[in-house]
Protein backbone atom coordinates (compact mmCIF):
# COMPACT_ATOMS: atom_id res chain seq x y z
CA UNK A 1 0.00 0.00 0.00
CA UNK A 2 1.40 3.34 -1.01
CA UNK A 3 2.15 6.18 1.33
CA UNK A 4 -0.79 8.41 2.15
CA UNK A 5 0.97 11.45 0.73
CA UNK A 6 0.71 9.82 -2.73
CA UNK A 7 -3.02 10.26 -2.30
CA UNK A 8 -3.04 13.66 -0.66
CA UNK A 9 -0.73 15.40 -3.11
CA UNK A 10 -0.18 19.12 -2.93
CA UNK A 11 -2.53 19.76 -5.85
CA UNK A 12 -5.35 17.97 -4.11
CA UNK A 13 -4.78 19.73 -0.80
CA UNK A 14 -4.69 23.02 -2.65
CA UNK A 15 -7.93 22.41 -4.59
CA UNK A 16 -9.57 21.25 -1.38
CA UNK A 17 -8.60 24.43 0.43
CA UNK A 18 -9.32 26.73 -2.47
CA UNK A 19 -11.76 25.04 -4.77
CA UNK A 20 -12.04 26.55 -8.25
CA UNK A 21 -15.42 27.20 -9.83
CA UNK A 22 -17.34 26.60 -6.66
CA UNK A 23 -20.26 28.79 -7.67
CA UNK A 24 -23.43 28.92 -9.76
CA UNK A 25 -23.48 28.89 -13.54
CA UNK A 26 -26.00 31.48 -14.67
CA UNK A 27 -27.66 30.85 -17.00
CA UNK A 28 -27.07 27.07 -17.12
CA UNK A 29 -28.47 24.51 -19.53
CA UNK A 30 -27.93 21.41 -17.39
CA UNK A 31 -27.89 20.64 -13.69
CA UNK A 32 -27.82 17.59 -11.45
CA UNK A 33 -27.35 16.71 -7.79
CA UNK A 34 -25.02 13.95 -6.72
CA UNK A 35 -24.95 12.16 -3.39
CA UNK A 36 -22.70 9.55 -1.87
CA UNK A 37 -24.83 7.84 0.75
CA UNK A 38 -21.85 6.11 2.29
CA UNK A 39 -20.18 9.28 3.48
CA UNK A 40 -22.82 11.93 3.07
CA UNK A 41 -20.95 13.88 0.39
CA UNK A 42 -23.20 16.06 -1.74
CA UNK A 43 -22.45 17.91 -4.93
CA UNK A 44 -24.44 19.98 -7.41
CA UNK A 45 -23.10 20.43 -10.91
CA UNK A 46 -24.31 23.14 -13.27
CA UNK A 47 -23.24 23.34 -16.90
CA UNK A 48 -23.87 25.67 -19.76
CA UNK A 49 -23.55 23.97 -23.12
CA UNK A 50 -23.47 26.12 -26.22
CA UNK A 51 -23.26 24.76 -29.74
CA UNK A 52 -22.32 21.35 -28.38
CA UNK A 53 -19.41 22.72 -26.39
CA UNK A 54 -19.09 23.09 -22.61
CA UNK A 55 -19.02 26.79 -22.18
CA UNK A 56 -19.05 26.84 -18.40
CA UNK A 57 -19.21 24.29 -15.60
CA UNK A 58 -19.15 24.79 -11.84
CA UNK A 59 -20.01 22.93 -8.66
CA UNK A 60 -21.37 23.47 -5.19
CA UNK A 61 -21.51 21.19 -2.19
CA UNK A 62 -19.77 19.65 0.78
CA UNK A 63 -17.43 16.77 0.69
CA UNK A 64 -14.10 15.33 1.62
CA UNK A 65 -10.82 16.55 0.18
CA UNK A 66 -10.86 13.95 -2.58
CA UNK A 67 -14.35 14.74 -3.79
CA UNK A 68 -13.90 18.50 -3.47
CA UNK A 69 -10.58 18.49 -5.30
CA UNK A 70 -11.93 16.15 -7.95
CA UNK A 71 -14.91 18.42 -8.60
CA UNK A 72 -12.72 21.48 -8.66
CA UNK A 73 -10.18 19.98 -11.05
CA UNK A 74 -12.97 18.61 -13.23
CA UNK A 75 -14.49 22.05 -13.73
CA UNK A 76 -11.10 23.34 -14.84
CA UNK A 77 -10.51 20.46 -17.22
CA UNK A 78 -13.74 20.35 -19.16
CA UNK A 79 -14.27 23.93 -20.28
CA UNK A 80 -14.14 24.14 -24.06
CA UNK A 81 -14.60 20.41 -24.68
CA UNK A 82 -17.39 19.04 -26.83
CA UNK A 83 -19.90 16.77 -25.08
CA UNK A 84 -18.33 13.86 -26.88
CA UNK A 85 -14.88 14.83 -25.67
CA UNK A 86 -16.10 15.38 -22.13
CA UNK A 87 -17.67 11.96 -22.03
CA UNK A 88 -14.53 10.39 -23.38
CA UNK A 89 -12.50 12.28 -20.79
CA UNK A 90 -14.72 10.93 -18.03
CA UNK A 91 -14.34 7.38 -19.24
CA UNK A 92 -10.58 7.66 -19.36
CA UNK A 93 -10.60 9.26 -15.92
CA UNK A 94 -12.75 6.46 -14.55
CA UNK A 95 -10.37 3.91 -16.01
CA UNK A 96 -7.41 5.73 -14.50
CA UNK A 97 -8.78 5.77 -10.95
CA UNK A 98 -10.01 2.18 -10.95
CA UNK A 99 -7.31 0.26 -12.78
CA UNK A 100 -3.84 -0.57 -11.50
CA UNK A 101 -0.82 0.52 -13.50
CA UNK A 102 -2.72 2.63 -15.99
CA UNK A 103 -0.77 5.75 -16.95
CA UNK A 104 -2.65 9.02 -17.38
CA UNK A 105 -2.92 10.27 -20.94
CA UNK A 106 -0.83 13.36 -21.62
CA UNK A 107 -3.90 15.56 -22.19
CA UNK A 108 -5.39 14.77 -18.76
CA UNK A 109 -3.39 17.42 -16.98
CA UNK A 110 -4.00 17.92 -13.28
CA UNK A 111 -6.64 15.22 -13.24
CA UNK A 112 -3.78 12.74 -13.13
CA UNK A 113 -3.10 13.57 -9.50
CA UNK A 114 -6.26 11.67 -8.58
CA UNK A 115 -4.83 8.37 -9.84
CA UNK A 116 -3.55 7.63 -6.33
CA UNK A 117 -7.11 6.96 -5.20
CA UNK A 118 -7.07 3.55 -6.87
CA UNK A 119 -5.04 2.27 -3.93
CA UNK A 120 -7.99 3.23 -1.70
CA UNK A 121 -11.02 1.43 -3.10
CA UNK A 122 -13.39 2.93 -0.55
CA UNK A 123 -12.43 6.38 -1.81
CA UNK A 124 -12.90 5.86 -5.54
CA UNK A 125 -16.49 6.97 -5.24
CA UNK A 126 -15.34 10.20 -3.68
CA UNK A 127 -13.17 10.87 -6.72
CA UNK A 128 -15.88 10.02 -9.25
CA UNK A 129 -18.94 11.59 -7.61
CA UNK A 130 -18.64 14.93 -9.43
CA UNK A 131 -18.03 13.19 -12.74
CA UNK A 132 -21.00 10.86 -12.40
CA UNK A 133 -23.09 13.88 -11.50
CA UNK A 134 -21.87 15.77 -14.54
CA UNK A 135 -22.75 12.83 -16.75
CA UNK A 136 -26.22 12.75 -15.19
CA UNK A 137 -26.62 16.49 -15.77
CA UNK A 138 -25.71 16.14 -19.42
CA UNK A 139 -28.08 13.24 -19.82
CA UNK A 140 -30.86 15.13 -18.16
CA UNK A 141 -31.16 12.98 -15.05
CA UNK A 142 -31.87 15.06 -12.02
CA UNK A 143 -30.08 13.20 -9.34
CA UNK A 144 -27.39 10.62 -9.18
CA UNK A 145 -26.01 8.61 -6.35
CA UNK A 146 -22.90 6.52 -6.18
CA UNK A 147 -24.24 3.62 -4.24
Amino acid sequence: MSDVSDLYQEVILDHNKQPRNKRDVEPHSHEADGYNPLCGDKVTIQVRVQDGVIDDVAFKGDGCAISTASASIMTESLRGLTLEQARDFFHRFHHLVTTDDVQPDSDMGKVAVLAGVRDYPMRVKCATLAWHTLEAALEGQEEISTE
Binding site: M1, Y35, P37, L38, Y120, P121, M122, R123, S145, E147
Partner: protein, 418 residues
Amino acid sequence: MSAVSPFQETTDKPLDAEALKRDFPILQQPMSGKPLAFLDSAASAQTPERVIEAEARVYREYYANIHRGVYKLSQQATQAYEGVRAKVRDLINAPDEREIVYVRGTTEAINLVAHSFVRPRLQAGDEILITEMEHHSNIVPWQVLAEETGAHLVVVPIDDNGEIDPADFSARISERTKFASVVHVSNVLGTINPVEDLTRRAHERGVPILVDGAQAVPHRPVDVQAIGCDFYCFSAHKVYGPSGIGALWGRYELLADMPPYQSGGDMIRYVTLAKTEYAKPPQRFEAGTPNIAGVIAMGEGIDYLREVGPAAVARHEQALLAYANERLSQIEGLRIIGNAENKAGVISFVIDGAHPHDMGTIMDQEGVAIRAGHHCAQPVMDHFGLAATARASFGLYNTEADVDALVRGIDKVKELFG
Protein backbone atom coordinates in the same frame (compact mmCIF):
# COMPACT_ATOMS: atom_id res chain seq x y z
CA MET B 1 -10.90 -15.41 0.70
CA SER B 2 -10.35 -17.51 -2.35
CA ALA B 3 -10.44 -16.31 -5.91
CA VAL B 4 -13.30 -17.21 -8.17
CA SER B 5 -12.74 -20.77 -9.19
CA PRO B 6 -11.11 -21.14 -12.58
CA PHE B 7 -12.77 -24.53 -12.91
CA GLN B 8 -14.83 -25.27 -15.98
CA GLU B 9 -16.91 -28.41 -15.92
CA THR B 10 -15.92 -29.89 -19.25
CA THR B 11 -15.34 -33.53 -18.48
CA ASP B 12 -17.79 -36.26 -17.69
CA LYS B 13 -15.38 -38.01 -15.38
CA PRO B 14 -17.16 -39.52 -12.40
CA LEU B 15 -16.35 -37.94 -9.07
CA ASP B 16 -14.45 -39.81 -6.41
CA ALA B 17 -16.84 -39.67 -3.46
CA GLU B 18 -14.48 -41.61 -1.23
CA ALA B 19 -11.85 -38.93 -1.73
CA LEU B 20 -14.31 -36.06 -1.38
CA LYS B 21 -15.53 -37.49 1.91
CA ARG B 22 -12.08 -36.83 3.32
CA ASP B 23 -12.65 -33.11 2.79
CA PHE B 24 -15.31 -33.25 5.53
CA PRO B 25 -13.88 -33.61 9.03
CA ILE B 26 -17.21 -34.57 10.56
CA LEU B 27 -17.53 -37.56 8.23
CA GLN B 28 -14.26 -38.97 9.58
CA GLN B 29 -15.79 -39.42 13.04
CA PRO B 30 -17.24 -42.75 14.03
CA MET B 31 -20.88 -42.70 15.10
CA SER B 32 -21.97 -45.19 17.75
CA GLY B 33 -18.63 -46.87 17.14
CA LYS B 34 -19.33 -47.38 13.44
CA PRO B 35 -18.29 -45.35 10.40
CA LEU B 36 -20.80 -42.55 9.96
CA ALA B 37 -23.16 -42.97 7.01
CA PHE B 38 -24.57 -39.47 6.77
CA LEU B 39 -27.76 -39.66 4.71
CA ASP B 40 -29.46 -36.41 5.67
CA SER B 41 -27.97 -33.88 3.30
CA ALA B 42 -31.45 -32.78 2.22
CA ALA B 43 -31.92 -31.36 5.72
CA SER B 44 -28.46 -29.82 5.79
CA ALA B 45 -25.25 -30.81 4.08
CA GLN B 46 -21.98 -31.19 5.95
CA THR B 47 -19.25 -28.61 5.56
CA PRO B 48 -15.79 -29.20 4.07
CA GLU B 49 -12.74 -28.05 5.99
CA ARG B 50 -11.96 -25.32 3.47
CA VAL B 51 -15.33 -23.67 4.10
CA ILE B 52 -14.87 -23.91 7.87
CA GLU B 53 -11.41 -22.40 7.45
CA ALA B 54 -12.63 -19.67 5.11
CA GLU B 55 -15.10 -18.52 7.74
CA ALA B 56 -12.50 -18.68 10.54
CA ARG B 57 -10.02 -16.79 8.38
CA VAL B 58 -12.42 -13.85 8.06
CA TYR B 59 -12.39 -13.35 11.82
CA ARG B 60 -8.69 -14.03 12.17
CA GLU B 61 -7.46 -11.86 9.32
CA TYR B 62 -9.84 -9.28 7.91
CA TYR B 63 -13.05 -8.96 9.86
CA ALA B 64 -14.80 -5.60 10.20
CA ASN B 65 -18.23 -4.23 9.57
CA ILE B 66 -18.72 -3.62 5.89
CA HIS B 67 -19.67 -0.78 3.54
CA ARG B 68 -19.04 2.22 5.71
CA GLY B 69 -15.49 1.72 6.89
CA VAL B 70 -12.66 3.51 5.13
CA TYR B 71 -9.94 1.46 6.81
CA LYS B 72 -8.37 -1.56 5.18
CA LEU B 73 -9.98 -4.31 7.24
CA SER B 74 -13.41 -3.00 6.42
CA GLN B 75 -12.44 -2.58 2.80
CA GLN B 76 -11.18 -6.13 2.55
CA ALA B 77 -14.26 -7.53 4.29
CA THR B 78 -16.51 -5.48 2.02
CA GLN B 79 -14.78 -6.70 -1.12
CA ALA B 80 -14.91 -10.32 -0.03
CA TYR B 81 -18.57 -9.97 0.93
CA GLU B 82 -19.56 -8.24 -2.29
CA GLY B 83 -17.43 -10.62 -4.32
CA VAL B 84 -19.67 -13.55 -3.47
CA ARG B 85 -22.50 -12.06 -5.53
CA ALA B 86 -20.59 -12.93 -8.69
CA LYS B 87 -20.07 -16.47 -7.41
CA VAL B 88 -23.78 -16.91 -6.82
CA ARG B 89 -24.52 -15.34 -10.19
CA ASP B 90 -22.22 -17.82 -11.93
CA LEU B 91 -23.54 -20.80 -9.98
CA ILE B 92 -27.09 -20.28 -11.18
CA ASN B 93 -26.20 -18.43 -14.37
CA ALA B 94 -27.97 -15.23 -13.40
CA PRO B 95 -27.45 -12.29 -15.75
CA ASP B 96 -26.27 -9.72 -13.23
CA GLU B 97 -24.70 -9.82 -9.78
CA ARG B 98 -26.84 -6.88 -8.66
CA GLU B 99 -29.74 -9.31 -8.81
CA ILE B 100 -28.29 -11.43 -5.99
CA VAL B 101 -29.79 -10.61 -2.59
CA TYR B 102 -28.29 -12.23 0.49
CA VAL B 103 -30.89 -13.73 2.81
CA ARG B 104 -30.86 -16.05 5.82
CA GLY B 105 -32.01 -18.91 3.61
CA THR B 106 -34.77 -20.12 1.35
CA THR B 107 -37.43 -19.37 3.94
CA GLU B 108 -36.44 -15.74 4.21
CA ALA B 109 -36.16 -15.42 0.44
CA ILE B 110 -39.75 -16.55 -0.02
CA ASN B 111 -40.98 -14.30 2.78
CA LEU B 112 -39.17 -11.40 1.14
CA VAL B 113 -40.81 -12.01 -2.22
CA ALA B 114 -44.20 -12.50 -0.57
CA HIS B 115 -43.85 -9.21 1.27
CA SER B 116 -42.18 -6.98 -1.26
CA PHE B 117 -43.31 -8.33 -4.60
CA VAL B 118 -46.58 -10.19 -4.23
CA ARG B 119 -48.27 -8.35 -1.38
CA PRO B 120 -48.48 -4.97 -3.11
CA ARG B 121 -50.01 -6.68 -6.18
CA LEU B 122 -52.64 -8.65 -4.31
CA GLN B 123 -56.33 -7.91 -3.90
CA ALA B 124 -59.09 -9.83 -2.22
CA GLY B 125 -60.13 -12.67 -4.47
CA ASP B 126 -56.78 -12.98 -6.21
CA GLU B 127 -55.01 -16.30 -6.34
CA ILE B 128 -51.55 -17.66 -5.64
CA LEU B 129 -50.65 -20.96 -7.24
CA ILE B 130 -48.49 -23.56 -5.51
CA THR B 131 -48.25 -27.34 -5.60
CA GLU B 132 -49.12 -30.02 -3.11
CA MET B 133 -45.46 -31.00 -2.75
CA GLU B 134 -44.18 -27.71 -1.37
CA HIS B 135 -42.03 -27.35 1.72
CA HIS B 136 -43.77 -25.45 4.53
CA SER B 137 -41.63 -22.45 3.69
CA ASN B 138 -43.36 -22.28 0.32
CA ILE B 139 -46.83 -22.73 1.82
CA VAL B 140 -47.14 -20.80 5.05
CA PRO B 141 -45.96 -17.40 3.76
CA TRP B 142 -48.65 -17.58 1.08
CA GLN B 143 -51.29 -18.67 3.58
CA VAL B 144 -50.42 -15.74 5.78
CA LEU B 145 -50.52 -13.38 2.83
CA ALA B 146 -53.81 -14.83 1.62
CA GLU B 147 -55.34 -14.41 5.05
CA GLU B 148 -54.20 -10.80 5.27
CA THR B 149 -55.41 -9.81 1.85
CA GLY B 150 -58.40 -12.04 1.21
CA ALA B 151 -56.57 -13.83 -1.60
CA HIS B 152 -56.75 -17.61 -2.13
CA LEU B 153 -54.20 -20.34 -2.33
CA VAL B 154 -54.71 -22.65 -5.31
CA VAL B 155 -52.91 -25.95 -5.09
CA VAL B 156 -51.85 -28.21 -7.95
CA PRO B 157 -52.28 -31.75 -6.64
CA ILE B 158 -49.70 -34.50 -6.97
CA ASP B 159 -50.44 -37.99 -8.20
CA ASP B 160 -49.43 -41.13 -6.35
CA ASN B 161 -46.01 -41.13 -7.97
CA GLY B 162 -45.45 -37.69 -6.53
CA GLU B 163 -45.70 -35.78 -9.79
CA ILE B 164 -47.79 -32.85 -10.91
CA ASP B 165 -49.37 -32.66 -14.34
CA PRO B 166 -48.20 -29.54 -16.21
CA ALA B 167 -51.52 -29.36 -18.06
CA ASP B 168 -53.28 -29.33 -14.72
CA PHE B 169 -50.92 -26.57 -13.58
CA SER B 170 -52.03 -24.53 -16.60
CA ALA B 171 -55.66 -25.35 -15.99
CA ARG B 172 -55.49 -23.92 -12.49
CA ILE B 173 -54.19 -20.58 -13.67
CA SER B 174 -57.06 -18.13 -13.80
CA GLU B 175 -57.54 -14.48 -14.53
CA ARG B 176 -57.03 -13.88 -10.84
CA THR B 177 -53.75 -15.73 -10.51
CA LYS B 178 -51.18 -13.16 -9.46
CA PHE B 179 -48.22 -15.36 -8.64
CA ALA B 180 -46.96 -18.93 -8.83
CA SER B 181 -44.39 -20.51 -6.55
CA VAL B 182 -43.12 -24.03 -7.12
CA VAL B 183 -40.39 -26.21 -5.79
CA HIS B 184 -37.66 -27.25 -8.22
CA VAL B 185 -36.88 -30.54 -6.47
CA SER B 186 -39.10 -31.96 -3.73
CA ASN B 187 -37.31 -32.54 -0.42
CA VAL B 188 -39.56 -35.51 0.40
CA LEU B 189 -40.34 -37.18 -2.89
CA GLY B 190 -37.24 -36.28 -4.84
CA THR B 191 -39.43 -35.22 -7.75
CA ILE B 192 -37.66 -32.92 -10.19
CA ASN B 193 -40.31 -30.59 -11.51
CA PRO B 194 -40.26 -29.42 -15.14
CA VAL B 195 -39.72 -25.84 -14.05
CA GLU B 196 -38.90 -24.55 -17.55
CA ASP B 197 -42.24 -25.84 -18.76
CA LEU B 198 -44.12 -24.57 -15.71
CA THR B 199 -42.51 -21.17 -16.09
CA ARG B 200 -43.50 -21.00 -19.74
CA ARG B 201 -47.05 -21.91 -18.82
CA ALA B 202 -47.18 -19.29 -16.08
CA HIS B 203 -45.71 -16.61 -18.31
CA GLU B 204 -48.11 -17.40 -21.14
CA ARG B 205 -50.78 -16.22 -18.77
CA GLY B 206 -48.74 -13.30 -17.50
CA VAL B 207 -48.11 -14.88 -14.09
CA PRO B 208 -44.70 -14.28 -12.47
CA ILE B 209 -43.14 -17.32 -10.89
CA LEU B 210 -40.69 -18.15 -8.10
CA VAL B 211 -38.76 -21.41 -8.11
CA ASP B 212 -37.63 -22.78 -4.74
CA GLY B 213 -34.20 -24.20 -5.55
CA ALA B 214 -33.25 -25.38 -2.05
CA GLN B 215 -32.96 -29.01 -3.17
CA ALA B 216 -31.76 -28.32 -6.71
CA VAL B 217 -28.73 -26.06 -6.43
CA PRO B 218 -26.66 -28.54 -4.38
CA HIS B 219 -27.37 -31.41 -6.73
CA ARG B 220 -27.38 -30.36 -10.38
CA PRO B 221 -26.48 -27.50 -12.69
CA VAL B 222 -29.03 -24.71 -12.39
CA ASP B 223 -29.56 -22.06 -15.03
CA VAL B 224 -32.14 -19.45 -14.12
CA GLN B 225 -32.03 -17.96 -17.59
CA ALA B 226 -32.82 -21.32 -19.16
CA ILE B 227 -35.63 -21.83 -16.64
CA GLY B 228 -36.89 -18.36 -17.40
CA CYS B 229 -38.38 -17.80 -13.96
CA ASP B 230 -38.62 -14.48 -12.15
CA PHE B 231 -37.22 -15.40 -8.74
CA TYR B 232 -35.04 -18.28 -7.60
CA CYS B 233 -33.61 -19.02 -4.16
CA PHE B 234 -31.56 -21.46 -2.14
CA SER B 235 -29.86 -21.94 1.25
CA ALA B 236 -26.09 -22.15 1.67
CA HIS B 237 -26.31 -24.78 4.40
CA LYS B 238 -27.44 -27.30 1.81
CA VAL B 239 -24.68 -26.24 -0.59
CA TYR B 240 -21.74 -27.24 1.61
CA GLY B 241 -21.76 -23.76 3.12
CA PRO B 242 -22.54 -22.41 6.58
CA SER B 243 -25.94 -22.12 8.25
CA GLY B 244 -27.76 -18.81 8.41
CA ILE B 245 -27.19 -17.58 4.87
CA GLY B 246 -28.55 -18.06 1.38
CA ALA B 247 -29.44 -16.16 -1.74
CA LEU B 248 -32.42 -14.84 -3.60
CA TRP B 249 -32.11 -14.08 -7.26
CA GLY B 250 -34.70 -11.85 -8.91
CA ARG B 251 -34.91 -10.02 -12.22
CA TYR B 252 -33.42 -6.59 -11.76
CA GLU B 253 -36.40 -4.69 -13.11
CA LEU B 254 -38.64 -6.46 -10.62
CA LEU B 255 -36.29 -5.91 -7.69
CA ALA B 256 -35.88 -2.26 -8.64
CA ASP B 257 -39.62 -1.72 -8.33
CA MET B 258 -40.05 -3.51 -5.02
CA PRO B 259 -40.35 -1.78 -1.65
CA PRO B 260 -37.84 -2.87 0.99
CA TYR B 261 -38.42 -5.85 3.22
CA GLN B 262 -36.73 -5.23 6.53
CA SER B 263 -35.57 -1.71 7.20
CA GLY B 264 -32.71 -0.14 9.09
CA GLY B 265 -29.10 0.64 8.34
CA ASP B 266 -27.52 0.06 4.94
CA MET B 267 -30.77 -0.23 2.97
CA ILE B 268 -31.34 3.47 2.85
CA ARG B 269 -29.99 6.28 0.80
CA TYR B 270 -30.94 9.12 3.03
CA VAL B 271 -32.81 9.27 6.32
CA THR B 272 -34.40 12.28 7.88
CA LEU B 273 -36.96 12.05 10.60
CA ALA B 274 -39.54 13.09 8.06
CA LYS B 275 -38.68 10.83 5.16
CA THR B 276 -36.35 8.13 3.96
CA GLU B 277 -35.04 7.25 0.52
CA TYR B 278 -34.12 3.67 -0.17
CA ALA B 279 -30.97 2.28 -1.72
CA LYS B 280 -30.97 0.35 -4.98
CA PRO B 281 -31.10 -3.45 -5.09
CA PRO B 282 -29.56 -5.54 -3.71
CA GLN B 283 -28.70 -3.26 -0.74
CA ARG B 284 -32.33 -2.20 -0.46
CA PHE B 285 -33.15 -5.70 0.79
CA GLU B 286 -30.21 -6.12 3.14
CA ALA B 287 -31.02 -4.04 6.20
CA GLY B 288 -28.67 -4.07 9.15
CA THR B 289 -25.35 -5.76 9.64
CA PRO B 290 -25.53 -8.93 7.58
CA ASN B 291 -23.96 -12.34 8.14
CA ILE B 292 -20.64 -11.11 6.77
CA ALA B 293 -18.50 -14.15 7.47
CA GLY B 294 -21.40 -16.41 6.48
CA VAL B 295 -21.63 -14.80 3.06
CA ILE B 296 -17.91 -15.20 2.49
CA ALA B 297 -18.03 -18.85 3.58
CA MET B 298 -21.05 -19.41 1.32
CA GLY B 299 -18.80 -18.25 -1.51
CA GLU B 300 -16.22 -20.86 -0.54
CA GLY B 301 -18.90 -23.59 -0.51
CA ILE B 302 -19.95 -22.50 -3.98
CA ASP B 303 -16.34 -22.66 -5.17
CA TYR B 304 -16.09 -26.15 -3.76
CA LEU B 305 -19.24 -27.34 -5.47
CA ARG B 306 -18.20 -25.79 -8.78
CA GLU B 307 -14.80 -27.37 -8.62
CA VAL B 308 -16.34 -30.79 -8.07
CA GLY B 309 -18.89 -29.88 -10.73
CA PRO B 310 -22.68 -29.83 -10.37
CA ALA B 311 -23.11 -32.12 -13.39
CA ALA B 312 -20.71 -34.66 -11.93
CA VAL B 313 -22.58 -34.45 -8.64
CA ALA B 314 -25.87 -35.06 -10.43
CA ARG B 315 -24.52 -38.13 -12.21
CA HIS B 316 -23.01 -39.47 -9.02
CA GLU B 317 -26.21 -39.04 -7.05
CA GLN B 318 -28.27 -40.57 -9.86
CA ALA B 319 -26.09 -43.65 -9.75
CA LEU B 320 -26.47 -43.87 -5.97
CA LEU B 321 -30.21 -43.46 -6.31
CA ALA B 322 -30.39 -46.32 -8.80
CA TYR B 323 -28.30 -48.51 -6.50
CA ALA B 324 -30.42 -47.65 -3.47
CA ASN B 325 -33.65 -48.22 -5.36
CA GLU B 326 -32.46 -51.64 -6.39
CA ARG B 327 -31.44 -52.64 -2.89
CA LEU B 328 -34.48 -51.19 -1.13
CA SER B 329 -36.93 -52.68 -3.60
CA GLN B 330 -35.81 -56.13 -2.48
CA ILE B 331 -36.82 -55.47 1.11
CA GLU B 332 -40.16 -56.96 1.99
CA GLY B 333 -42.65 -54.65 3.63
CA LEU B 334 -40.73 -51.55 2.53
CA ARG B 335 -42.54 -49.01 0.42
CA ILE B 336 -40.86 -46.07 -1.33
CA ILE B 337 -42.90 -42.86 -1.27
CA GLY B 338 -42.31 -40.88 -4.43
CA ASN B 339 -41.67 -42.59 -7.73
CA ALA B 340 -41.39 -39.72 -10.14
CA GLU B 341 -39.77 -40.51 -13.44
CA ASN B 342 -37.44 -37.61 -12.99
CA LYS B 343 -36.13 -37.96 -9.48
CA ALA B 344 -33.20 -36.67 -7.44
CA GLY B 345 -31.21 -38.39 -4.70
CA VAL B 346 -33.88 -38.35 -2.04
CA ILE B 347 -35.71 -41.53 -0.96
CA SER B 348 -38.62 -41.47 1.45
CA PHE B 349 -39.86 -44.83 2.65
CA VAL B 350 -42.01 -46.58 5.20
CA ILE B 351 -41.83 -50.09 6.60
CA ASP B 352 -44.80 -52.11 7.78
CA GLY B 353 -45.03 -52.18 11.54
CA ALA B 354 -42.10 -49.84 12.18
CA HIS B 355 -42.63 -46.18 12.84
CA PRO B 356 -40.11 -43.89 11.10
CA HIS B 357 -39.10 -42.38 14.42
CA ASP B 358 -38.11 -45.74 15.79
CA MET B 359 -36.28 -46.47 12.57
CA GLY B 360 -34.32 -43.25 12.97
CA THR B 361 -33.24 -44.13 16.48
CA ILE B 362 -32.26 -47.67 15.61
CA MET B 363 -30.33 -46.61 12.51
CA ASP B 364 -28.49 -43.97 14.54
CA GLN B 365 -27.16 -46.79 16.71
CA GLU B 366 -25.85 -48.35 13.52
CA GLY B 367 -24.05 -45.17 12.54
CA VAL B 368 -26.65 -44.29 9.92
CA ALA B 369 -28.06 -40.75 10.04
CA ILE B 370 -31.42 -40.51 8.30
CA ARG B 371 -34.33 -38.19 8.90
CA ALA B 372 -37.72 -39.31 10.18
CA GLY B 373 -40.81 -37.14 10.26
CA HIS B 374 -42.93 -34.96 8.06
CA HIS B 375 -39.91 -33.17 6.56
CA CYS B 376 -41.72 -29.85 6.80
CA ALA B 377 -44.11 -31.03 4.12
CA GLN B 378 -47.23 -32.15 5.93
CA PRO B 379 -49.46 -31.82 2.86
CA VAL B 380 -47.35 -34.49 1.14
CA MET B 381 -47.77 -36.69 4.21
CA ASP B 382 -51.52 -36.05 4.12
CA HIS B 383 -51.63 -37.00 0.45
CA PHE B 384 -50.12 -40.39 1.20
CA GLY B 385 -52.07 -40.77 4.45
CA LEU B 386 -48.91 -40.91 6.51
CA ALA B 387 -47.84 -39.09 9.65
CA ALA B 388 -44.17 -39.51 8.83
CA THR B 389 -41.66 -41.20 6.57
CA ALA B 390 -38.05 -42.18 6.91
CA ARG B 391 -35.85 -40.35 4.43
CA ALA B 392 -32.36 -41.00 3.13
CA SER B 393 -30.82 -38.28 0.99
CA PHE B 394 -27.49 -38.02 -0.76
CA GLY B 395 -24.67 -35.52 -1.01
CA LEU B 396 -21.54 -35.59 -3.12
CA TYR B 397 -19.69 -37.47 -0.36
CA ASN B 398 -22.02 -40.47 -0.21
CA THR B 399 -20.96 -43.86 -1.48
CA GLU B 400 -22.52 -47.24 -2.12
CA ALA B 401 -21.11 -48.24 1.26
CA ASP B 402 -23.43 -45.68 2.84
CA VAL B 403 -26.38 -47.30 1.07
CA ASP B 404 -25.20 -50.69 2.28
CA ALA B 405 -25.13 -49.33 5.83
CA LEU B 406 -28.67 -48.06 5.32
CA VAL B 407 -29.80 -51.51 4.26
CA ARG B 408 -28.10 -53.08 7.28
CA GLY B 409 -29.90 -50.55 9.46
CA ILE B 410 -33.21 -51.49 7.91
CA ASP B 411 -32.45 -55.16 8.58
CA LYS B 412 -31.88 -54.28 12.21
CA VAL B 413 -35.23 -52.45 12.29
CA LYS B 414 -36.97 -55.47 10.84
CA GLU B 415 -35.28 -57.71 13.36
CA LEU B 416 -36.84 -55.71 16.18
CA PHE B 417 -40.18 -54.86 14.58
CA GLY B 418 -40.59 -57.65 12.04
